[in-house]
């Protein structure tokens, strides 16, 4: 008797987990196109394919190309559903003009994938007709395959709330006729900005997690990096797509130095720069150079390219003291022109406080006195506190640190703010 061709349960679950991490978005994207852009239907078929993998691979062995197997299975599940269910079939938009079959040349047996397939899915999930919070949730669910529970946890809402948000967004896509395609030339820049904003939001939510014990949610950071790589690879002449990836690589390169063994926050000022990931920094800087080469006086750098340039200034400084603060001030001034956000003003104030002095930094923050958009933004009182502390006004500094503590949610940041208050009240 020959041994059964099946695989060990542990090997199967490992293979399925791997495939889930790397292939989910691709499988769903291909299936969604076959479903005429009905992402909800595609999601169900994709989910069924992964469940089938758990069962089948244990019996028949792990396929040599798991992604192709999963895509093929998801497509078959979708077609079964469409054939069975006349109501669903009627819903199929005219986009698929004849009944799709597995022999359709667009959906070859080999499971080869049209290069921009995942990009369609990303642009659909990030459509401006969806609320920003829905776009982020949908992207994490459909493109990255995170569970509703994981997404709810990352954004500090209950699981039913998040489930309702995702369901509502999926319904709107089909009911309102949000197209399943990459926008044309005329809309691309504007729509791309929406996509990059969502990816950046996923990244920052992972980089400084608003809840949980760990400052960094590595899974979110890595998903965001994956997404940014896909978008940058598929749109290699869009400077902002390269700029976002550069910004994230350069920021994430400092990850190991940002937290000490106790899980406490280490300020840029105190970070052990030998812990910085030099490979990631070289990579990020190279991406930034490519992005900058695509810009010109007619096509000035956008907000992600400029933020990446600022991150590169830090990466290039051998010590905190050697940081080129005046270069940073100039970059933030330029950034403020293309992206007039009060958050940029706070960053510019910090750069000014080191380039000129803390009092000059305070003067920049005064521009924000009547700006209600930053209510609840703890970095504003934290920056003001730092300038006051450096000016020797300990009482006012402690007051501002307390205001920041009232607003901060990340435990590591809260511990840092508390420690500053403790030190100031001792002196």
């Amino acid at each position: 008797m020959s041994p059964a061709p099946g695989a060990e349960p542990a090997a199967v679950s490992e293979a399925v987990a791997q495939a889930h991490r790397h292939e989910w978005g691709l499988v769903l994207a291909v299936t969604a196109r076959l479903a005429g852009g009905d992402v909800g239907l595609a999601e169900e078929a994709t989910q069924e394919a992964f469940i089938a993998a758990l069962e089948t691979w244990g019996v028949r062995g792990i396929p040599s190309n798991p992604g192709a197997w999963l895509t093929q299975t998801a497509k078959r599940r979708l077609l079964d559903r469409l054939r069975r269910d006349a109501t669903l079939r009627r819903k199929l938009p005219l986009l698929v003009d004849s009944e799709p079959t597995l022999d359709d040349p667009d959906f070859g047996e080999e499971g080869e994938v049209i290069p921009d397939e995942r990009l369609r899915l990303v642009f659909t999930c990030c459509h401006p007709a969806l609320a920003m919070e829905a776009r982020t949730a949908l992207t994490l669910r459909l493109v990255c395959g995170l569970t509703t529970d994981e997404i709810a946890h990352a954004f500090l809402v209950s699981e039913p709330t998040m489930a309702a948000r995702i369901t509502r967004a999926k319904k709107k896509i089909t009911a309102a006729g949000i197209p399943y395609r990459v926008p044309g030339r005329t809309d691309l820049a504007e729509r791309l900005d929406g996509v990059l904003t969502v990816i950046h939001l996923v990244f920052t939510s992972g980089h400084t997690a608003p809840g949980g014990d760990e400052l960094v949610r590595l899974d979110l950071v890595e998903r965001a990096l994956d997404l940014a790589r896909v978008v940058a690879a598929l749109l290699p002449v869009e400077p902002e797509a390269l700029g976002l990836l550069a910004l994230m690589e350069l920021t994430d390169a400092r990850r190991l130095a940002r937290v000490d063994e106790a899980g406490d926050l280490v300020l840029l000022e105190d970070q052990d720069r030998s812990l910085w990931d030099r490979v990631a920094m070289v990579h990020g800087t190279a991406l930034l150079d490519r992005a900058l080469a695509l810009t010109s006086p007619q096509r000035p750098p956008g907000r992600f390219v400029l933020q990446a340039a600022a991150a590169a200034v830090h990466a290039e400084a051998p010590t905190f003291g050697a940081t080129d603060w005046s270069a940073l001030v100039a970059l933030y001034e330029q950034l403020q022109r293309v992206w007039p956000s009060p958050v940029v003003t706070v960053n510019r104030a910090v750069a000014v406080s080191f380039a000129v002095g803390p009092d000059a930094g305070l003067a920049v923050l005064d521009e924000l006195t009547d700006d209600r958009r930053l209510d609840g933004y703890h970095y504003l009182p934290a920056a003001r506190a730092d300038f006051l502390r450096r000016l020797g006004d300990h009482r006012a500094a402690a007051e501002q640190y307390r205001a920041a503590l009232d607003l901060a949610t990340a435990p590591a940041e809260r511990r840092f703010l508390q420690s500053r208050i403790d030190v100031l009240s001792e002196s």
């Binding site: 005219l94 459509h127 007709a129 009911a175 309102a176 006729g177 949000i178 197209p179 926008p183 809309d187």
Partner: protein
């Protein structure tokens, strides 16, 4: 093709104060927009302007099957519903592009429930 209802909201008092020349200009702008719709490949199924909300009557279901009739619109809002278009468009992007070029202050785009 998906069918969309474009609900046009605007400031009624400003519209009431419009001079005959301004009215004519508005009508011309809407006519030009209608031609633009057809040229874009979409279809205008219907479109009308409404009398002001001061002419509206609202009928509500009351307790135990009764009907309550009241003078005025369903909701008193600063921007009132002043007209509508019913448009068949390729998808939401096409519909939104048309809505953006509509000579109106605010346009709500609602897909029609396909039955």
């Amino acid at each position: 093709m998906t069918r969309y209802l474009f609900l046009i909201y605007g400031n009624e008092s400003r519209e009431a104060a419009a001079t005959p020349e301004q009215w004519q200009a508005m009508m011309d702008a809407h006519r030009a927009w209608g031609e633009k719709v057809m040229a874009s490949g979409a279809t205008m199924v219907a479109g009308e302007a409404l009398q002001p909300t001061s002419t509206a009557t609202t009928v509500r279901a009351g307790d135990s099957g009764s009907r309550l009739v009241t003078d005025g619109p369903f909701a008193e809002t600063k921007e009132a519903l002043g007209g509508f278009y019913l448009i068949d468009a390729e998808d939401l992007d096409a519909a939104l592009a048309l809505a953006e070029s509509l000579p109106a202050e605010t346009v709500e785009v609602r897909p029609i429930l396909a039955t």
